[in-house]
């Protein structure tokens, strides 16, 4: 059954086995994310938001219910099929950037294309394009150690965008950044969302969460609140980031 929704959770549950006891990380979560959505996920630690994220990111499969990503049911998919799905449809941004050390920005950004079987020349061409999009076209030959935290996160965002994903998943993307840089990164996300890229963002800061259009609040493995945000923060007319 093909739906117009990007991500569909139908009564999804996730149970982990920890020693002898079962831990219900997620229970009866039903949610749908449409194309162009910008969702922030908030909640205390252990509330299930990371599990939700892993399920959205096809890093994990549900124990109960059904998760559909871009119209495809992930249940029963093999490891390799999930890897291919992540490679083609999803982009990841992490708190610790997770860039390969002693590797240039260009090669870091091009990494997902390596696993997509794209030719070297095309990889670099595409990586240049997205580095330009995040405003780092003059930092292509720099190693992560030579970049500031904000720049590193931009490289990571470029890497997440390089395969033209349908959904961008950001796990505490501003957790390791100062307030000013966080604001810049959030603005970048907003601009990307303006371009039509769907985003799911996990955070524990209310400030950051209110940069999205819709906020999901998790507690004890359930969604306790799902509401749109009227007043967008961080949005400024002066756009320091150039959008191609």
């Amino acid at each position: 059954m093909k739906t117009s929704e990007l991500v569909e959770f139908e009564r999804v549950g996730k149970v982990y086995q920890v020693g002898d006891s079962e831990v219900h990380a997620l229970a009866e979560v039903s949610i749908s994310i449409g194309v162009g959505d910008f969702i922030s996920v908030i909640g205390p630690s252990g509330s299930g938001k990371s599990t939700f994220m892993n399920l959205c990111g096809c890093l994990d499969t549900p124990s109960e219910g059904r998760v559909m990503i871009d119209g495809v049911d992930v249940a029963g998919m093999t490891d390799d099929e999930l890897a291919a799905l992540r490679n083609q449809k999803l982009g990841f941004v992490f708190q610790q950037f997770n860039l390969l050390p002693r590797t240039t920005s260009l090669d870091n950004v091009a990494l997902p294309l390596l696993y997509a079987g794209v030719k070297r020349r095309d990889r670099h061409h595409k990586a240049m394009e997205v580095l330009n999009l995040v405003g780092l076209s003059d930092r292509t030959d720099h190693h992560p150690a030579q970049l500031s935290g904000g720049q590193q996160q931009r490289v990571a965002i470029a890497r997440a965008l390089v395969n033209d994903p349908v959904l961008l998943l950001a796990d505490e993307p501003t957790g390791a950044l100062d307030t000013r840089t966080s604001a810049e990164i959030m603005m970048l996300f907003q601009q990307l969302n303006d371009k039509g890229i769907s985003i799911v963002l996990v955070t524990h800061e209310q400030d950051i969460a209110s940069a999205a259009r819709r906020r999901l609040t998790f507690r004890d493995g359930r969604v306790i609140e799902d509401k749109p945000i009227e007043q967008l923060r961080f949005l400024q007319p002066d756009r320091s980031v150039k959008i191609a």
């Binding site: 890093l59 990841f92 992490f94 002693r102």
Partner: protein, 410 residues
């Protein structure tokens, strides 16, 4: 992702940890170098033994004068001269398996040509000797039967003698004085090299047996046809034991040795002695190679150790690669290729090192060294195989990481 891409990724990863990569490789380098050098030295020694076997002559017996007992008192070998030319002729006539039976005498002479001279060994021979000992007349010709029979003053020069006295110039037909007797040179023998005991076999001149006896060495009054040694060559190696028995029987008969008396001659199987030596050297080679292989295996364990450390260190990298779409197979390939690259590079450097050590050793010590292509190729292939074998466990560990936990790894 194809293999070439994997190799590129692997090389980049190895380069980022250059010092560690080099140290890890060192184990393989030393192992490969050890194996190749040991085998090269071993087969060098082997080759020398093989040459000695070829130089000795095929299926060779050496019959010498034995001890004789006089009322229980043992006398020195050859005290009573008992071997003669006729013994040799009889052996050849009576035993069809014998290809050549060559009676010979040995002595020493001073060879003089112009104002140079050279002290050497003279060997009194007939043409059977050339056959039995696998000599080759490089220039000129052998003695003709008439020369042998009449004891003509003709001589064949060994390679060393020809070189020492004449250098490059033509020697055939020239006259050389041996103990002041002029001899005409009919030929030069090709080079044989050293014996097992390190004697130069080419430092010799050969003259007909009768000539040697009459003019250079002298003869026994009581047994005019006496010789020192009879060299016997047999058609096939399998007949050696049978021929030895027949010879013993015939010689005992001829020398009228009673059943209760000991032999007055000795028959030595020369080929067997050298074969034994060759076998010893083969076993020794295998032991050397085996010990060297152990160091290669130890190098492989070093690779496994470092790869395990590397996998743990790069857990987050593995998680990230999985998140952006690497299948676990890709991760397995990546780490396996890294291990194999380490080993193969180490193997290549080891080959270079082995070549240097082998030729260096040959240069300095004069030991024979034979580098073999097969061994070099085998060593490199084997080191790659070690990479696969010892790299597989760490690579599988990397590939089986749960991406979620790997991403969270601190």
């Amino acid at each position: 992702m194809n293999v070439l891409e994997s190799m590129l990724v692997a090389i980049i990863a190895l380069r980022t940890n250059l010092m560690r990569s080099l140290l890890t490789m060192l184990g393989i380098i030393i192992g490969v170098a050890a194996v190749i050098t040991m085998v090269a030295m071993g087969s060098g020694a082997q080759k020398e033994v093989d040459q000695q076997i070829a130089a000795l002559g095929t299926n060779l017996f050496m019959v010498t004068r034995g001890y004789s007992r006089d009322h229980g008192a043992r006398k020195a070998a050859g005290t009573r001269v008992r071997l003669t030319e006729d013994d040799a002729r009889m052996l050849k006539e009576q035993i069809p398996e014998i290809v050549a039976a060559a009676p010979t005498m040995r002595g020493s002479v001073q060879a003089v040509i112009g104002n140079t001279n050279w002290a050497t060994t003279v060997q009194g021979i007939d043409n059977d000797y050339i056959v039995a000992r696998n000599w080759v007349v490089r220039e000129g010709r052998e003695f003709d039967p008439r020369e042998v029979r009449t004891g003509a003053k003709v001589v064949l020069l060994g390679h060393t003698v020809a070189e020492e006295l004449f250098g490059e110039s033509n020697v055939i037909g020239q006259t050389i004085r041996l103990n002041n007797v002029p001899f005409r040179i009919t030929g030069v023998l090709s080079q044989k090299g050293q014996t097992m005991n390190g004697q130069d076999q080419d430092d010799v001149v050969m003259v007909p047996l009768a000539t040697a006896r009459g003019r250079l060495i002298g003869h026994s009054q009581s047994v005019p046809k006496a010789v020192h040694v009879i060299m016997v060559s047999v058609a096939e190696a399998g007949m050696m034991d049978d021929v030895e028995q027949q010879m013993t029987q015939l010689l005992r008969q001829r020398h009228r040795i009673r059943a209760d008396q000991e032999d007055t001659f000795r028959i030595r199987n020369m080929s067997e002695m050298v074969e034994t030596r060759a076998e010893t050297s083969r076993v020794f080679n295998m032991l050397l190679a085996a010990v060297a292989s152990v160091s290669l295996v130890v190098g492989g364990i070093g690779i496994m150790n470092i790869m395990l450390v590397s996998v743990t260190e790069r857990t987050r990298e593995i998680g990230l690669r999985r998140a952006v779409g690497a299948r676990s197979r890709d991760i397995l390939t990546q780490f396996l290729v890294e291990a194999v690259t380490l080993c193969t590079l180490g193997g290549a450097v080891g080959v270079l090192l082995a070549v240097l050590i082998s030729y260096g050793t040959a240069e300095v010590t004069g030991w024979p060294v034979a580098l073999q292509w097969e061994v070099i190729v085998l060593a490199v292939v084997f080191s790659a195989a070690i990479g696969v074998f010892f790299g597989f466990y760490p690579a599988r560990k990397a590939a089986n990481q749960n991406p979620i936990e790997a991403l969270r790894y601190e």
